[in-house]
């Protein structure tokens, strides 16, 4: 099982420190808070997998922290820590959403098993999301559009880079089309007749990553009923696209580096070396230099990947492409839905041009898709666009930045059925920041 990001909340320094030391040696990323107040502060800035929470503390109690968390980020697993006399409170906490409780002092094995169980459960949820994302990916727009100078430069780079066999690193914000650029390089490369194999490093749970990449031999583990080829093998003769490479675990970084250096690997449970030949393209929205500095990304792997690199421009820096992109999406979605909509009204296009599109092309694509669904007439009107429609998403009369932000967040949440992960991704903020903003702006979920 992989490693977790854990927050320990306990007002006793010695308990905090001994537990943190233990969990650090176990390979987890650990932070501590000495009070409920400090815990809430940390929770607003960082997302944790697990909270180990002492029940009895001065000020904001463990139960209060639990209540706050379950209202704002119910996916974080909370384990209550309690002394023998407070078991009834711990049971009460479990009724309020805590995953489990531990009696102080606890057996190290008990703690290990509990963390493993929680991580397995969280990995299953992630796996589900990944499968949904894969399905969506299959229907995604597969060409690149843009007449702006910024995009012309990208096209020139792709044209120059594609015929070479060099590894390419594509950077840029979420939704800027890094995957499309990778596909364009593949399509225009000598490997274009070979497969284009995508590995979404951020979406595949760590425990599945090894078998996904390397495949496995029949009998390698309990569920390995048949030998399965991994994505490295499937990419032979083509291109391997490592999307969200910044999210890959340290173990996988070591393995991947070895494959990139030697072009040889073994299936899980296999003894026969397999030789592969493919081109590698990697993409990330993370600052890898920063990740190297904080020790979460290997420098040698970075240099192996960063042979040629370029950045995909955000949509706000190529607004001249907005009409073309919007029309393209309109044509696609009207064909898919058979709706008799033939254009985007001038007023709606003006609104599209004013908006900054923090979620980039993907946000625009979603906005047009939604507009096509709700549009009643032959042309898209401003009110059909999710960013400007009525009620909580209504364009504020005031020009205050806060009001604009509030309205935008409300609209993105509404458009995504209050799916926090998806909304946070579109808004390009982390989930805890989104929860805090929902709370701060008192944005209500419709009942």
């Amino acid at each position: 099982m992989g490693n977790a990001k854990i927050l320990i909340v306990d007002d006793e320094k010695i308990m905090r420190e001994s537990l943190a030391g233990w969990l650090l040696r176990d390979g987890h990323d650990v932070e501590t808070a000495k009070s409920g107040e400090e815990a809430l502060e940390k929770l607003s800035a960082t997302r944790y997998n697990i909270l180990l929470l002492d029940i009895k503390m001065e000020g904001i109690s463990g139960l209060d922290v639990l209540k706050h968390l379950k209202e704002n980020d119910p996916d974080v697993a909370v384990v209550m820590i309690t002394a023998y006399g407070s078991i009834s409170t711990a049971i009460e906490a479990m009724k309020n959403g805590a995953a489990d409780y531990l009696l102080k002092p606890f057996d190290p094995n008990e703690l290990g098993v509990l963390i493993e169980k929680i991580l397995e459960n969280q990995a299953r949820v992630l796996e589900n999301l990944y499968l949904k994302e894969q399905y969506k990916e299959r229907t995604r727009f597969e060409s690149m559009i843009g007449q702006s100078r910024a995009m012309q430069e990208v096209f020139d780079l792709i044209t120059d880079v594609a015929p070479m066999n060099s590894t390419v690193l594509i950077t840029g914000e979420t939704g800027t089309g890094k995957g499309l650029a990778a596909k364009a390089i593949h399509t225009n490369s000598p490997q274009s007749q070979g497969p284009f194999v995508v590995v979404n490093c951020g979406a595949i749970p760590e425990h599945l990553m090894e078998s996904e990449l390397f495949g496995y031999q029949k009998g390698a583990f309990t569920d390995a009923k048949e030998t399965k080829k991994g994505r490295l093998e499937l990419a032979h003769g083509g291109t391997l696209f490592l999307d969200e490479i910044g999210e890959i675990s340290m173990r996988m970084q070591i393995d991947l580096l070895r494959v990139l250096e030697d072009r040889i690997f073994y299936r899980v449970g296999g003894t026969q070396p397999l030789e592969v030949d493919f081109r590698v393209i990697a993409a990330t929205n993370r600052d890898l230099q920063k990740a190297i500095k904080n020790g979460s990304f290997r420098e040698d792997l970075y240099y192996r990947l960063n042979v040629v690199s370029f950045k995909m421009p955000p949509l706000r820096e190529r607004k001249e492409d907005l009409p073309l992109l919007a029309e393209h999406f309109l044509s696609r979605f009207t064909q898919e839905t058979n709706k008799p909509i033939d254009r985007i009204s001038r007023a709606a296009m003006d609104e599209i041009m004013i908006y900054d599109w923090p979620g980039n092309v993907r946000e625009l694509e979603n906005a047009i898709e939604r507009a096509v669904v709700v549009c009643k007439g032959p042309k898209i009107m401003p009110e059909d666009l999710p960013i400007f429609c009525a009620e909580e998403g209504a364009r504020p009369d005031t020009n205050s930045l806060v009001e604009i932000e509030k309205a935008h967040i409300a609209q993105v949440l509404k458009d995504n059925d209050w799916n926090i992960s998806r909304s946070a991704k579109i808004l390009e903020i982390d989930r805890s920041t989104l929860y805090n903003k929902i709370k701060r702006y008192k944005i209500q979920k419709p009942s």
Partner: protein
């Protein structure tokens, strides 16, 4: 820095816990980490760390004292004791180490569980060597490994200790090499 202790792991026995174990432990350390090993008494007892309510010894306090007593220039210090160790949040620990630090300790107290009379001494000795290397691994910044055969795997029971090998897996070897390079770079820039 003393030339005699530089790049050397100091092994220090606390109390009577079988100094004949020095040879297998030192061989194990040399094989896995490639460092020299030296035996040196550092603490005469660990009574200062006794918690009378639990009748166990607080390992973190012992590590702090070991760090103070460590000879200048010793790369790492490994203490071996027969007393039962704990950290306040947990019921017991087999050992403890300063992650990426200098000192670590292993207790033999729970390593004798489930020994068969026929192979008792051999098994016990192998267990101790594995746990000593495991704790020393932490001082080289290695964390617990998911591979159940790797020496850095966290064992829930002595049976797990028996099952794991006395070697690092290939991931841990890479991470250990990284750490050695980092330490060498740090030493050359000092």
């Amino acid at each position: 820095m003393s030339a005699s202790t530089e790049h050397t792991v100091v092994v220090s026995f606390i109390g009577d816990c079988g100094e004949e174990l020095f040879l297998p432990v030192s061989r194990g350390i040399q094989r896995v980490f490639g460092c020299g090993v030296k035996r040196m008494p550092l603490l005469t007892d660990v009574d200062f760390a006794l918690d009378p309510n639990r009748d166990q010894y607080h390992s973190t306090l012992i590590l702090d004292k070991l760090a103070e007593a460590a000879p200048e220039g010793a790369a790492k210090v490994l203490a071996i004791t027969a007393v039962d160790l704990f950290i306040p949040i947990l019921t017991h620990v087999y050992g403890e180490a300063q992650l990426g630090g200098k000192t670590c300790i292993v207790s033999t107290f729970r390593l004798k569980e489930g020994l068969s009379p026929l192979s008792a001494q051999d098994t016990y000795q192998v267990r101790l060597v594995k746990e000593a290397i495991h704790e020393l691994g932490h001082t080289f910044n290695l964390r617990h490994c998911q591979d159940p055969a790797c020496i850095m795997h966290y064992c829930r029971s002595v049976r797990d200790v028996d099952r794991k090998s006395d070697q690092m897996c290939r991931y841990c070897k890479v991470l250990f090499d990284d750490e050695m390079k980092r330490l060498a770079k740090q030493a050359s820039s000092a």
